[in-house]
Amino acid sequence: MSLGPYASFVVTSYTLVAAIVLVLIVWIAVDYRHQKARLRELESSGVTRRSGRQATDI
């Protein structure tokens, strides 16, 4: 597959798209872990939800 004289533009586009999507995915995953960790922390400090369920329960 030859991309012609403008290969760099095509490659840059695809790389950038991949990079940004990756950043989004990583950010969301890290955020999820972070929130879970904080919930666990709160739970271990003895706070309970109004419903009586565990903080980290769904």
């Binding site: 597959m1 403008y6 950038l16 798209v17 999507v21 989004l24 999820y32 919930l39 709160l42 769904i58």
Partner: protein, 242 residues
């Protein structure tokens, strides 16, 4: 599972936990297939290989508008129905929409350089997309700047609805004004005018990116619900300490 059930964050989390793995798988497969087809697509007789940029540019451009549309509906949910998940949906969508808009801008510029000989031109289409991007950033700033999420939600909702005026402007700017940018060739009256060799990979990519959005959005909504739970637990902790 009815809509009423979904209004309950806990039920929503349960649903998310069930569908997210499937969604992730489907997204990955579609994007891979789309990418393969895009790589295999023939060169355009005018644009050469640069036409391949289309397969990422167009889905991102569509999604940039679609996400604002989703946020507008969520905004109505906030203001009219005071739906508890509407705030969450709106907040979670903003960064993702901003990312898509950014990608549409950048891939467009990268396509513009070989096609028009310039990265950037102040024409109506490009400008209105840039305004969209700025408004996404403004919204994100707003969400971050206000500590009380329900307060922020109401302000953001008003702003989102006002900003929705920009959507038709983006869509029809190519028809209303003389621009460099190409007029609609897929979503237009009278069916697509694009060659099948380009159309199919484009549609696969578009569906793939849409699924990507749904997946990311659900995951981000889950994070946001958890974040709010943390916040309310912290408040309870503060008052229990009294």
């Amino acid at each position: 599972m009815t809509l009423i059930d979904l209004a309950n964050p806990t039920k929503f989390l349960a649903l998310t936990a069930r569908v997210l793995p499937w969604l992730t798988g489907a997204t990955a497969i579609l994007l891979l297939v789309g990418f393969y087809q895009a790589a295999m697509a023939p060169d355009d007789y005018q644009q050469g290989a640069t036409v391949k940029i289309m397969f990422v540019h167009v889905p991102n451009a569509w999604l940039s508008m679609f996400v604002w549309g989703v946020m507008s509906i969520a905004a109505l949910g906030t203001l009219v129905w005071r739906h508890p998940l509407a705030d969450v949906a709106a907040k979670a969508a903003a960064p993702i929409g901003a990312a898509f808009t950014f990608l549409a801008l950048v891939t467009g510029s990268l396509w513009g350089r070989p096609m028009w000989g310039t990265y950037w031109e102040w024409d109506a289409r490009l400008t209105s997309v840039l305004i969209l991007f700025l408004m996404y950033l403004g919204l994100m700033a707003l969400w971050r700047a206000v500590e009380d999420p329900s307060r922020a939600a109401r302000a953001a909702a008003v702003l989102t609805l006002v900003g929705a005026i920009n959507l038709p402007i983006i869509k029809f700017s190519v028809d209303w004004w003389n621009t460099l940018h190409q007029p609609a060739s897929v979503m237009r009256m009278g069916g697509p005018s694009l060659d099948r060799a380009f159309l199919i990979p484009l549609l696969v990519m578009a569906i793939g990116f849409s699924l990507l959005f749904v997946t990311l959005h659900l995951a981000a909504m889950r994070n946001e619900i958890l974040r709010r739970r943390v916040r309310s637990l912290q408040m309870m902790q503060a008052s229990q300490a009294a």
